[in-house]
């Protein structure tokens, strides 16, 4: 999961490595996800999330569809 300057740089990076594209996420959206996903990580009473709870966090920031499905 990497940062890239632009779509042009993304295409060049994928081509140079021979990789198929995955999913591109604007940094603002990734920040929303990261803030939500990691917010409770340091809570003293932290408990692992279920897959359904994690999926809901992806859903709420608009990352939906097969690529973002946590279930095999």
């Amino acid at each position: 999961m990497v940062f890239l300057r632009s779509e042009e740089h993304l295409e060049r990076w994928l081509g140079a490595n021979g990789w198929e594209p995955g999913a591109t996420v604007p940094a603002r959206q990734m920040n929303e996800l990261a803030r939500t996903w990691w917010w409770s990580r340091l809570d003293p009473g932290w408990q692992p999330r279920t897959a359904e709870q994690s999926q809901a966090l992806l859903d709420v920031v608009g990352l939906t569809g097969e690529f973002w499905s946590l279930q095999a």
Binding site: A34, L42, W46
Partner: protein, 148 residues
């Protein structure tokens, strides 16, 4: 998850925040007044549960996500320290986990050009025009978390 494993995990994360690094199994054994092997077993169970990531074939903590303890291009100033983020998601997650503002210094994966992102009160106020790319579908993230 076993209550002892949750206690060990909490100790790891509190140590990371307090000291900037995770405890070795020796450090944690001393803190818990427990045999080192019991701590090592807990670390392995936490790794298997994806609650920590250990370096391959060791009981040394590689990642207590979003914090990383191996070099990456992602440096994050937040909460009075400079941290390393595993990836773009974790780099932006460090201010979130610390409930703090943050400054991310990283690089474009294509050209290596320096990139900066600024998080203030949870909002991305600089670097919002940048892109993140996720190569691996979500259901396969843990097949090889280092590559992911």
């Amino acid at each position: 998850m076993d209550p002892f494993d949750l206690d060990v995990r909490r100790h790891v994360y509190f140590s990371v925040v307090a000291n900037g690094r995770p405890p070795s199994t020796e450090d944690a054994a001393a803190a818990f007044d427990a045999p080192k092997d019991d701590i090592a077993d807990a670390y392995r169970r936490l790794h298997d549960a994806h609650a920590l990531v250990l370096f391959p074939d060791t009981t040394d903590v590689w990642m207590a996500n979003p914090f990383c303890f191996a070099p990456t291009p992602h440096r994050v100033r937040a909460g009075g320290r400079t941290w390393t983020g595993t990836c773009c998601w974790d780099a932006l997650g460090i201010p979130g986990a610390l409930h703090a503002d943050g400054d991310v210094e990283t690089e474009c994966a294509c050209c290596g050009e320096r990139l900066e992102l600024t998080v203030r009160e949870g909002e991305l106020v600089a670097g919002a025009d940048l892109l993140c790319h996720v190569l691996v579908p979500a259901r396969r993230w843990w097949d090889d978390i280092g590559f992911t």
